[in-house]
Symmetry: D2
Subunit: 437 residues, 4 copies
């Protein structure tokens, strides 16, 4: 496969930190072992079909700026096939092992539902062949339930049953496609599941609808034997004013309310975290603490801008903090690190796609090395353990075991008096982090 | 009682919309019946001890600008007594039926815990006398677990068991004080329950600690026979970088996770809603949909500023939307509308306290009238009912009852084809709202 | 003209506040005299070609949801002609006197520059005919220098002279078109005049380029006898990370730096103001204080969202505050109130276009009445005058005249001692405003 | 001097990157030469009296958490003297050459203005002695015109002439103090120069007042022979809703409008930049492009929070971008890098003061090394030069010289046709930056 990215004839090599070649890795060395696993096992990178191959550079103020060779065909299916070939060529050359798609990325919407299904099946067959040829695997599939105008007022949360039914039918095929391609997860991102104004919205009714849709998905997966992990991806706003899957805690609340906790984990995206007013590390920690951190969409927002910029992840701080969470929970299991990131509208070349992914992979590889070192040195974790040590002692244990009462606590204070305030040492700890970067 | 607010010798009268007297109500007419209840029953206003009587005008860049006559005493307890008297004088003249306090608003912190308790008991006795004299009641009490340096790293979520015990002992007395004063609710606002950096924090451990504290409170209330409603007040940030009770959904998730849902409702504050990126109406709706909207802290933030400005509520849109939620759920039960609002630092006079509360009460009274009219006219609710009507029909009912599957949905689409997109009519609905204002 | 909006066969009538007809005005009564001018003279409303007629409902997450009858033609020029006809039909039925356009709204981009120019000329001729038939006038024209990919890195601020030249040539024709149609103003909005990263940008060089472009425009206008007002429209972010015309003060600084102050005023947009962290009233005041408030783009942002939502203006507070500024400066001169607003993506009907504009016009009409009453009653202005009265007295005058010194000031303090702090009365003043709404 | 920081008996040493001693520098090596100047010459660090020595850990929700030994005296002047001694001990041990103060940091406000002046004079005499003993110098002085209630409604922009006069008299003495101590600059930060509501404000009048105050300062400096640089420090919001010195461009506009450009430069603060919606690098560049970058307040905000957190600078990206601007303009002249930063409320120890400053100094030292390398390697600057090369050629030069016209530009396009779009290479450039970190 050397048809669309001929400027990169072979695989992107690892050359080490001395390299100045923009088409080489400086940190990502797939076979390098870090704490018992190879980098490649730690960092199950995935390329996103939508941004990398379907992205056009269009924005709300201007049209497509990317002129991709795989789009230079006359029929939608010919474009779809060329795009699929480009995907596997790119992913292979980049040295990544996974990709992700929406059904409508892979195959074009047809004139009818059944035509759309046929298109999808044809493209799944092609992708399966490419998977076998290249060894590239599907990290997750999903259904695009936000692009078509029928979903303007929501998919699962639509006021119209008819649209709900359409969404359900579409998801059925998207799960089937994911299953056929041995996808390791299936993701729900509710692009239009939210509201633009409370004036025309019954939020409670919509939540109940959505819960039924998820239960149907669980039932269907069981029926067809799909054992991949279901994931929900929180996002607070955009495209609708309020998205129901606002952040990790909101989704966890929904799952508990509607008896869905056993079947879903979360796919946490960096830029969605920050749009909700949280750091990426915060959202990862909320999910991880609940045993629900399943996968990550890696990208980066611009905190001075209020929309989803989906930039490539190049900030070492964010990525180190993220890898600390991932390493502490023992990895992402069937999940991975999906590049839900797009080049800037002005980065028009296909070579920019390589630069962007290489930069993101190198940043995470470096973050893995740093986070591993931080954990093995133990300076931070020892500090934290010491800070909370009283909770491992007599009174602390009693409290946590539910064997204490306000009366006991008052007696404790009457005996021990005023506590002594300790320093939280935030500045010192930040310096420690910098000493590893 | 006519000692501290002598510029307002009698009660603030209702004079109707033609009045230009800044010390009269234009809308708030306590006895006026709105849909079967008096305004006073609908709008259980409460004055906040901390802002109205303890507020000094201090901000992070400058010292106290308010020179209150009740602070012109030499001992802490004399100031406390004068403040209590001023409270009841003000509340009575304003024509409000409730007040709210933190333990440390009412009575000063002593040199020891037991001295603090004694101070509190003395002030509770005085407040009880004033309550009996005036008929003013306690909407809710709470404990201040954020002002004293011992709580720098949290109260219930402190890394040090010793501080946890102190907080527990303090809450014990605050609940007892609330009980003694027949408080109708008890509120938890976790001012320091959050983190400043994840580097020194074990969020999961802190959540478990907090859950134990709440369970202790439930147990203690049962023991002493306190049957008031427990309320948690969400806030996302400030003073700590991240507050655990971020928003309504986050608190609901916490309550479900730690088996506390039966014992707690939410106290939703307007300005805390907006700091979390939500409208006030959104947070009220989330709480109400879960059957957990217990009370409101009424104020207003400045959406162009990133901190809690706690301004008095004067925006008709926000208050109408709020009252729509309240009326639709049939009122707030034992809850009320507490003025967690402060005059601007430059509004230095005691007359400004009257202007501010009068303006807020009038705005909510007017909002009540408008919301009641909107509901009784039914234009909005009919529109919404029609929009969702398909969910009351055959297929919709089957889905909601859990009797549908992806296969059925696909069959439905194969039979019915593409749905027809309907307008959401947001602009029309906004015009309708304006036609009532 | 009754071809595209047949559901509205005649003009939208004024029916007064008792009306519930969504296709009638409740406040906008064109002939009603307010302080010596008719409402129509005060409120020179203009309909925006781009949002109202070219808007498709597309957003970054989904395709066109509006299916407009004037787009159902096969050639670009046939669509353009139908759109122009629809424009004049809509504007006439709405009872508005002005419209605004970008060159590329009116006429499609051709294969070459000269073809684009020919398209524009043809459409200008058609629009001129329609103007004569209907009496509708052009408030302002402008050039779209952001939609085409050639402008990805800016127009006047492009690193490539070739693109600068293209922009200049395009503006030449856009000014000529505006002149031909007797446009009363010409607007510059620098959609791509900004940067995405400082790493590839020489901001200083780009500012100098832009200044040259503006000087050329001034020269060209003089040459062809175009005497309309040049306006610059500030916006802080979107589409680029940083837009050079960030806010009113930034643009005023640019105009002073590059000797352009005599030739330009500002077109202030509500939603752009809030994206810059300012209220609409603030930006209007900054411009007005500098004698540079030329026109307004009326819409409304959502302060909880970080992008330009361009919603229709329905908030009475924002509009009253805006009209206070406008009335105090004696109107907008050749400027007007242009609806740079779009229906929500879900408001798919052409009737929604009417509802939306009617709501906006009524809101501003009501705001005009309120602001006029506030000004004529004088409560607010008297308060302000009294607050600053000392500046009209001896020492104040000396200071303002430049006849004071630090030494004099110290002598004044040594004589007069500590000043007495006065209340700023913000809450009282907010209540006053509410008493007019 | 070894009285208050006895845990640090001698100077903080430079130990290189291998060091793990939290009381050693890993990068800041004062004598190390970087591109012809020592690190100490490049990085004129200054310690801020207010945060480091007067800061108490107080925040809007709680009292002082720092218990400083220099505050354990009974009289205000004894505390002031001890604080001054602590300052020089700390600064000397840290190895910094500069400090900064507000008049009221150094000396307490007295009962009368003249007592305040006497206090200041006494403390200036003491500070002078310490300066001579230690060699530590004054980077800049300023007057605190925001803390005292008299300045609630502004100092120079106060509606009351009396307050203006007070501010002027106070500044007179603050400039005199700065002059006496050979301060190299004098800073204006208008803490209360703004408004809380436009309803009670005449913004235009207040701007004119402020201009007069600045002119008086210029006159006074000339009279007493103070030749230090005057600096204005922009900040957009907090404590008032709107601060007049919103950002660099706003201040530059003010300076031009009121004929003050010759006498003032800007002191750019990182956290103030981000509160205005800008990056630190952006604000530095705006100031530098105008020839007005005079000094920096180094700290760091939290972009997820909406207030001035004034954290210590530890982010390598922000500091590298800052140092690129500083190096490109050839340094800060008489300005420096002032730590307008405070430890978190929970960092209660005096050792935390050392950790915090050491971390900040090391971060800037490392950023200096990186920025110097980036500049000397030239990859970034060569890319930018190439990107703009056409502006150095014939047509570009003509345009910049003012010798082009729209007609010439159209002729150019008619000859050359459509420009070719080039990639902006943002992702590549970000990778280049990461290759230096």
């Amino acid at each position: 496969m050397n048809r669309f990215f001929t400027e990169v004839p072979t695989n992107i090599p690892y050359e080490g930190t001395a390299s100045r070649d923009p088409l080489a890795f400086r940190y990502f060395n797939p076979e390098q072992v870090v704490n018992g696993k190879t980098m490649e096992e730690h960092l199950r990178f995935s390329v996103a079909y939508w941004h990398t191959f379907k992205g056009s550079g269009q924005d709300p103020f201007g049209g497509a700026s990317f002129d991709r060779p795989w789009n230079r065909f006359s029929s939608d299916m010919d474009i779809a096939k060329a795009t699929c070939e480009a995907t596997f060529e790119f992913v292979t050359k980049l040295g990544v092992r996974y990709y992700c798609f929406h059904d409508r990325d892979l195959a074009p919407e047809g004139q009818t539902f059944s035509e759309s299904c046929k298109n999808l099946e044809a493209m799944v067959a092609l992708a399966k062949t490419f998977q076998e040829q290249t060894g590239v695997k599907l990290l997750w599939g999903t259904a695009n339930l936000f692009g078509h105008p029928r979903y303007t007022h929501g998919a699962g949360t639509n006021p119209d049953v008819h649209v709900f039914a359409y969404a359900a039918a579409q998801i059925k095929h998207a799960i089937a496609a994911t299953h056929e391609l041995n996808g390791e997860n299936y993701v729900f991102w509710g692009g239009r599941e939210g509201y633009d104004t409370l004036l025309n919205t019954d939020m409670n009714k919509e939540a109940r609808q959505m819960a039924r849709l998820f239960h149907m998905a669980v039932d269907y997966a069981a029926k067809i034997g799909f054992t991949g992990q279901f994931l929900i991806e929180p996002k607070p706003k955009e495209p609708t004013k309020h998205q129901y899957d606002y952040d990790a805690a909101t989704v966890l609340n929904f799952l508990q309310t509607y008896d869905l906790s056993d079947h879903f984990k979360l796919n946490i995206e960096a830029n969605h975290a920050t749009l909700a007013g949280h750091s990426f590390a915060h959202e990862l920690t909320v999910a991880s603490d609940a045993g629900k951190l399943g996968s990550m969409d890696i990208n980066r927002g611009d905190l001075l801008l209020g929309w989803d910029t989906d930039q490539f992840p190049t900030d070492l701080y964010d990525t180190v903090y993220a890898m600390l969470v991932v390493l502490r929970q023992g990895g992402l299991g069937s999940g991975g690190l999906n590049f839900d990131a797009k080049p800037k509208r002005g980065s028009i070349g296909t070579e920019d796609l390589f630069y962007a992914h290489i930069g993101g992979m190198d940043t995470f590889a470096r973050a893995l090395l740093i986070a591993d070192q931080i954990i093995s040195d133990g300076l931070i974790s020892d500090f934290v353990a010491k800070r909370y040590h009283s909770w491992s002692e007599k009174t602390g244990k009693e409290i946590l075991a539910g064997n204490a009462s306000f009366e006991k606590m008052e007696a404790y204070i009457n005996k021990h008096g005023e506590p002594v305030l300790q320093s939280g040492r935030q500045e010192y700890l930040e310096n420690v982090i910098n000493s590893y970067i």
